[in-house]
Symmetry: C3
Subunit: 319 residues, 3 copies
Amino acid sequence: MKSLRTRRRIRRLAALAAAPIAIGAVAGTQATTAEAAVVQYWIKAENVKWDVAPNGMDVLHDNRPIELSTRQLDAVVYRAYTRGWKKRLPNRAAVGDNDGIPGPLIEARVGDTVLVHFKNEDRVHKSPHSMHFHAFSYKPDSDGAFIPQISGRGGNVPVGKSFTYRLEAGPMSYGTWPYHDHSSTMHESIPQGLYGIVRVYKKKEKKPDRQFSVAFSEHLGFNTINGRAFIGNTPTFQAKVGETVEWNVIAMGELFHTFHTHGHRWRNHAGVPIDNQDLGPGSSFTIRWKEDAPGTWYVHCHVESHQMNGMIGLYKVSR
Amino acid sequence: MKSLRTRRRIRRLAALAAAPIAIGAVAGTQATTAEAAVVQYWIKAENVKWDVAPNGMDVLHDNRPIELSTRQLDAVVYRAYTRGWKKRLPNRAAVGDNDGIPGPLIEARVGDTVLVHFKNEDRVHKSPHSMHFHAFSYKPDSDGAFIPQISGRGGNVPVGKSFTYRLEAGPMSYGTWPYHDHSSTMHESIPQGLYGIVRVYKKKEKKPDRQFSVAFSEHLGFNTINGRAFIGNTPTFQAKVGETVEWNVIAMGELFHTFHTHGHRWRNHAGVPIDNQDLGPGSSFTIRWKEDAPGTWYVHCHVESHQMNGMIGLYKVSR
Amino acid sequence: MKSLRTRRRIRRLAALAAAPIAIGAVAGTQATTAEAAVVQYWIKAENVKWDVAPNGMDVLHDNRPIELSTRQLDAVVYRAYTRGWKKRLPNRAAVGDNDGIPGPLIEARVGDTVLVHFKNEDRVHKSPHSMHFHAFSYKPDSDGAFIPQISGRGGNVPVGKSFTYRLEAGPMSYGTWPYHDHSSTMHESIPQGLYGIVRVYKKKEKKPDRQFSVAFSEHLGFNTINGRAFIGNTPTFQAKVGETVEWNVIAMGELFHTFHTHGHRWRNHAGVPIDNQDLGPGSSFTIRWKEDAPGTWYVHCHVESHQMNGMIGLYKVSR
């Protein structure tokens, strides 16, 4: 007979699965015991041809053409698979999850143990890679950072090899966080696409109706949101009036940015209303609001040249 | 007979008018009903020859000369007018309001409706312009941002034409915020001067004795405070011991800055004492303190090269 | 007979002296009365040959050699002396205090008066220098900032001369703060090493078991922690499980950074868990945690090029 805790857990998982965009419930597989939930992800670093601006233009500036040769990235990205890296999980077109940049959303709840089974299949660059996770507690061998003469196998996984990172979602793990390559080649692989987002929920936190990943970075000299530049290539986020909307924002790479939305404000960590939140590389935050402003709005970085160079998207709110 | 609410409102407006620097009470005209106050601004985008360093030197570095040709900006700025754009409102020399950069301080109180009647009179650059306001709630057609094939007339107002933005100061609108051009030419017009500051007060918030606008940006390669570079050109803010002093700080353009004052500290949003507040483009904050430190103090950005390149002013506190 | 307050004070000072790394108790000399404590520091600006990367290599990148000629700085640094600048205080190898960059940790407690006796012994650059302190309240003549025609002797102390700064640790002074040259030559002397850290404790705040100075800056084109670049040159911080660990972090110079540690999280000012804190030049913060994660961890700036260019160190936690 199942314990009360297990039964509660199962109800919660069922609720997760029913949420409109329960990305993690797709990518991660979960097993529960009376003592703890174990969430497992099977992830490959693998190569994709990545077009930073598939529509080939900057529509904000008289459809200025963006030449194909300047926007094709020999990317290496994280993608989620079924158990044993057998079958790649489908991409969720609505949110772009599992298409490459950023990598699959890693989801957990405080109290969970997360096992990430990582396999390096970077056959193009033939570089060692790793996964380093913010958010979680872990022992040094699951840190995923290459330290000469100190770090173990998980810090620099050779091509064709795998490693399992064991992570604990503790009481200080809730929120939005980045994960990324921290191997000896990270200075090359992060501009090639090897980063993603972690979302850890509090023990009893309800998931929102809509959840949007926003990863600010730069590729091939463009300023990008989720690896794309310019409206029509960057995401067009969608929600309805009355829904609870959540933004999971990270920055990765070289530059400081701001997350700015039109027509909306939210309270910063200290409770003060803002509509423009600064963040540097490696920083991240979660923003939630109850949607009440129908229309088509900009979402962009307020650094003028970043916005002009691609870091701008749309947010469509319908009634 | 006037309702209680109207009478309270009138008392408040009278108090505003009596405040030492009630800039908004000059620039904006207000009408009240028992239900709501409507504040109206009549603003033009118009051309001025703007000297970034009128005294022609960098007094901090042996009066190094700043050549005239390097500091003359063909600016386009926001300036406030009487109803119907008939007569330009006077400049308040003490605070530089309505001289051009930044534009006139837009003031409102939570609960107010603000109507901004904007006319584009940029006869030099002959560019479309707009006004995009942080702080306020509004319908998409008052967003003032040019979105190809989506935004309406307010996103790109041609030369000689006008548009009225309808803005609501809601419960999340209080504080200090930027406003700026968000038309198709904003990448050119913001460096030319087309931005300003909004200040929304809480419903029962008392106005301070002194209110200082601080707009960090860059023009012609100089790092500027309120469009000017180097001591003697940048503002010399003035207050007296015992007065309540308020700083309304924004950054606009390309760069991250810090707002630093000498001889003073304040509590950040979370209540922790600081004397140096980081901010990126589009970010903003309000700082208040009761003045108790007589003397002449620096106000500057702590990025060394910004400070050396003009982003430094004086703050004189008399007994 | 001693008053109750004096006796409490003496007990506190004894506790300070017994703390594992009570740097301030070495550098500063203290006198107490029933009314107030006066802490005195005797500090010189003096020249040292400073090697930014003494081990001559970047161990993270295949031991890439860092040529001697590119890493030798003709530094001018703050160093602490006994009363009357008679004898240089010893360097604390474990924390690098009093070796030069950053200058000696200036410690005080809310309520204290701090007298800093400064002597300019910069015989190499032969430049005037000063000391400007964040954190403290003071009269304008102790501001240490050169203002043409306004500031007094303390703003620009010539070579061979001295000045005493009188500082008050008031109720808004607690926390971690920078101090630095603010003379007419600060744009040269800060890249040459003339900055340090202030730590003011609340009235009854207990000192931590371990206290780590982290000064982010840049020298000779390298991105540095405490004046050094690359692992093995930057500090290797050390602590034990169970100890209370405190990080006193500042940034100085040109660039925005983030303070990131592996394997640990802390609460930001507003109580939200983070592991990466943005900060600009002149900004600073204090982080404390109870250590519970044995291992060797990275401490670094998350701006990728800063990390690659030297701004990375190690943190070793033993059981």
